[in-house]
């Protein structure tokens, strides 16, 4: 589904990603872990071309993306993204947030888009909030709307950039629940998170980054119970 080869990215003199290689299969759930500054968020943002890598190749859905030549808007339609700070459109209702891109990007008709939005809202448990504005929702509700908004474009892959980091602890569960449901339905997902319990339960593979390199990857059980790399051990110990 996603194939990353030799990807590197710098911000000025800072080398954030150094030659990353990663393959993500269809229906796979991959969790990226690592200390802050390890490059995990940047890697995720590169997959959506919100950051453009200087070197390397990214193929999505067996189509090679060359940022100069490929229509990035078309690629982004296939890749849903959920942000740490939700980034809902505050001037639009929940329903309008969800139908915006389907109508204006995919050219769906309004009725069809609304119908689909209602189904998605039901899926994330917010069918009664369709006409609320984002400011009237809790953080957990906002994030669930953001997930529904991304799903409305019927993406092939969903990217989650620390989706629960900005939430009050008691609201984390409802968002993770929705993500588990998605994983069970077979959505391909790449997730940056510090929720290790969730990673252990849902991930097919855990990828550990440090200083812009992938230093270890494997099945969550192996990584969490028997980390090989010394830095992974240290990182996991700090979290416990």
């Amino acid at each position: 589904m996603i194939e990353i080869t030799n990807l590197s990215k710098s911000f000025g003199p800072l080398n954030v990603l150094k030659s990353i290689d990663l393959k993500i299969k269809e229906q796979e759930v991959v969790v990226l872990i690592g200390a802050s500054g390890s490059g995990k968020s940047t890697l995720l943002r590169c997959l959506n071309f919100l950051e453009v890598a200087e070197n390397g190749e990214i193929s999505i859905d067996s189509e090679k993306v060359i940022s100069q030549k490929t229509n990035l808007n078309k690629v982004r339609e296939k890749v849903g993204m959920v942000f740490q700070h939700f980034n809902l459109f505050p001037h639009k209702t929940v329903l309008e947030n969800i139908i915006e891109a389907p109508i204006f990007v995919r050219g769906e008709n309004k009725e069809e888009a609304r119908e689909k939005a209602r189904i998605l809202l039901k899926k994330v448990g917010l069918q009664d909030k369709a006409h609320f504005y984002p400011d009237q929702l809790s953080g957990g509700q906002k994030q669930r709307v953001a997930i529904a908004r991304a799903l409305a474009m019927e993406p092939k892959v969903m990217l989650f950039d620390e989706p629960t980091s900005a939430l009050d602890p008691e609201l984390v569960g409802e968002v993770l629940q929705v993500m588990k449901e998605l994983a069970r339905e077979g959505m391909t997902m790449v997730i940056v998170t510090h929720e290790m319990g969730f990673a252990r339960e849902v991930a097919d593979r855990v990828v550990m980054l440090a200083d812009g390199n992938i230093i270890e990857e494997g099945h969550p059980e192996d990584i969490f119970t028997n980390p090989k790399h010394e830095r992974t051990q240290r990182f996991l110990n700090q979290l416990l």
């Binding site: 808007n73 982004r76 993204m81 459109f89 001037h91 204006f104 504005y133």
Partner: protein
């Protein structure tokens, strides 16, 4: 008592003239704000654009206008340019005021657009929306709402600044006050009256913009009072 008497006398005698002048003040301000807003949108766009040349043009325009007095700009347009094209005083005044406020309005719009959280553009782009679609559907509506209070402020400043067109003999409120005062030698009462006219216009305008602001503020929950 004398004071009140004099005021009523001025209103009796010059009420019609002040009313006509009010219309001139409002219309010259209105025309200048119309052009100023268009100029403001264009130059804000130049400034936000990724084309360096357009940034530069916007910088130069804003720099010159903000760096020189309005009265000089008015005089320049009316007398200075008279050798090339002759503009009647109203047109020259409206044009000068429009070009002047345009610079400030462009800064208001630019600031409003740039104040919108980066995440909004990222979210829009991540949904497959193009840059221009994201601007049009996501950024501009939020920026416009945010620019209403400073815009209202700028409109009020423009209304009061329009009094300077008296110096190119537009018969506006201030010019009327000048000539009335020259007749009756009652500067205290006369300027008091003309001040009142400006004040009432500004208060009415403020009332309207406050209502507009409340109306636009749909996304916020109803006002919460903290005791």
């Amino acid at each position: 008592m004398d004071f009140l008497h004099n005021i009523i006398g001025i209103l009796n005698e010059h009420g019609i003239a002040f009313l006509k002048a009010t219309w001139i003040t409002i219309s010259i301000t209105g025309v200048s704000l119309f052009f100023g807003t268009i100029i403001g949108i264009v130059f804000a766009g130049f400034k936000i654009s990724s084309i360096k040349f357009l940034n530069r043009i916007s910088d130069i325009y804003v720099g010159i206008i903000r760096g020189t007095p309005l009265i000089v700009q008015i005089m320049f347009l009316y007398y200075g340019i008279a050798s090339i094209v002759t503009l009647d005083s109203f047109t020259a005044g409206a044009l000068a005021l429009g070009i002047h406020t345009g610079a400030y309005i462009s800064e208001i719009f630019r600031g409003a657009v740039q104040s919108i959280d980066r995440g909004q553009m990222e979210a829009a782009r991540s949904l497959g929306m193009s840059y221009s679609l994201s601007m049009r559907r996501i950024i501009f509506p939020q920026a416009f709402k945010r620019s209403i209070p400073p815009l209202a402020n700028q409109f009020i400043i423009s209304l009061k600044d329009s009094s300077l067109v008296a110096y190119i003999s537009v018969i506006d409120l201030y010019n009327t006050a000048l000539s009335v005062q020259g007749e009756n030698y009652m500067p205290f009462e006369t300027y008091f009256v003309v001040g009142l006219y400006y004040l009432v216009i500004v208060l009415i305008f403020t009332w309207f913009t406050n209502r507009l602001e409340k109306k636009m503020d749909v996304s916020k929950p109803k006002e919460v009072r903290i005791a």
